[in-house]
Amino acid sequence: MNSGPPMLKVRSINAFYGENQALYGVSFDIGEGHIRTLLGANGAGKTTVLRALCGMVRTNGEIRFDDKAIAGWATEDIVRLGIAHVPEGRGTFLRVTVEENLQLGAMTRRDKTEIAADIERVYAHFPRLKERRRQQAGTLSGGEQQMLAVGRALMLRPRLMLLDEPSFGLAPLIVEELFDILREVNRETGVAMLVVEQNAALALELAEHAYLLETGHIVMDAPAAVIGADEGVRRAYLGY
């Protein structure tokens, strides 16, 4: 690993919805190519962390990407740095086709032939999307839409992917397939990932490092194996 500053550096950020504070002094780093996960109960502030990174919620504190201070930037400018956010609810453009969704993912790029090649690469990961390329995205099943959301994020050629509950609402088999693909993509492209998950067991298998969030505070910050072995975490989040 390089010895410079980490790709993403977050220092004591607070986030607010109107008058309500949702995050309190959250700090963490993500290095190039790392997979990290944010665990926590409903309402702990996991989604808010992702939204804060993308400028989608009022935030103060320090957020640095490639040593650029991006707190307060507009969402679309942050995305253009190579941060792809797969939001809760997947953010699919329902009224356009599958392929147009993928093209939208590459909206910030100009290299036409490379975009076409990347679309084929996404289809190689998700053959079912290729079968449905001309269908309106709204006609896809939940699992297919999640794959489309991941595919669309990949079209940005991101350096960091933010995934919000990728397993939500999916059948167990589909979830396994999806997480295998995420691992594969990480290995092939070296994209870093921050994964928010309710399914803690699954997330701890994917990530090498985990953060535990409780009511807006990071209460644990440790390698996935350590967090997975922790008695309290096991009882509260892993259910055994």
Binding site: G91, L94, V96, L104, G105, M107, R152
Partner: protein, 292 residues
């Protein structure tokens, strides 16, 4: 029978203009969820600029192209200066801004060019088309130009990346930002295109209704009726609605004795109310279900 056909054709011709106005209204409605009450005044102002250019000796098509371009820039400027700063403001604030824009454009046109009726030239001539009695060359020109605009818009929105980005920004602004689309500029672009389409409508209808600051009042009302009939969420539907309103207006004005020329405008209002009562999303629109 010939009278009926003639009236249908004449209705299609004015309907083409209503279709343009409906389309202009829908483009802005899709982007910001508000009806632009000043759409007609914007078109009227553009038409006055065209008239002025022609008075100064610019040839018709030169003035036409220049005004489409100026209107495009003007539409963007209106969005950036007036509506961008208040885009999160409550509905009534925005409504007042539309009324203000209406008043500003209407009175400035009156101040600059005064309220006397002016003749506006047509590039198509006023004779019958191909020597028949069905339709005049100007009416045919109105229909032709409208269809051309439609085809160009269709190609733009279906076939270009920018068109795709504009559709995405209108349908799902939050997701559009997450793929790096500058949603604010897409909205401004929508305003620009809408202003240009309105300008074309104004320049085409001016030879029929004559140029004066209030000339678009009735036209916009029919445009609204067309947009509501076809569905505010459907550009294609709005265009069909515009044509339909034109035909219905003409037939009712001719064949229902009581309406005559004087009560024709009531038809637009009746249609708006009827559609809103029976099918609020319009013939081709989608009803929006939102969770609260």
């Amino acid at each position: 029978m010939e009278l009926l056909l003639q009236q249908v054709m004449a209705g299609l011709a004015t309907g083409a203009i209503y279709a343009c106005m409906a389309l202009a209204v829908v483009m802005i409605y899709q982007a910001i969820d508000h009806l632009n009450f000043a759409q007609g005044e914007m078109a009227m102002f553009s038409t006055f600029i065209a008239w002025q250019l022609i008075q100064w000796g610019v040839p018709y098509w030169g003035a036409f192209v220049a005004v489409v371009a100026v209107s495009f820039v003007g539409g963007i400027a209106i969005e950036r200066i007036l509506f961008r700063p208040i885009h999160n403001a409550p509905v009534l604030t925005q409504l007042v801004a539309f009324i203000a824009l209406f008043g500003i454009l209407n009175s400035s046109a009156g101040e600059i060019w005064n309220f006397t009726i002016k003749e506006f030239p047509t590039p198509f001539g006023r004779g019958p088309l191909f020597g028949g009695h069905l339709i005049s060359t100007h009416d045919a020109g109105m229909i032709g130009v409208t269809l051309l605009i439609l085809i160009l818009l269709y190609l733009f929105f279906r076939g270009s990346r920018l068109g795709l980005a504009m559709r995405a920004a209108a349908a799902n602004p939050a997701s559009a930002r997450l793929v790096g689309i500058r949603v604010g500029w897409m909205i401004a672009l929508g305003w620009g295109m809408s202003a240009s389409i309105g300008a074309v409508a104004g320049m085409l209808i001016a030879p029929v209704v004559f140029l004066e600051p209030n000339m678009m009042l009735g036209v916009l009302l029919y445009g609204f009726a067309g947009a509501v009939l076809g569905g505010l969420s459907s550009p294609g539907g709005a265009v069909l609605g515009g044509f339909a309103v034109g035909v219905i207006e003409n037939l009712a004005g001719t064949f229902i004795p009581y309406f005559g020329r004087e009560l024709k405008l009531t038809i637009a209002l009746i249609m708006i109310v009827a559609v809103l009562l029976v099918r609020p999303s319009g013939l081709f629109g989608r009803s929006v279900v939102s969770r609260v």
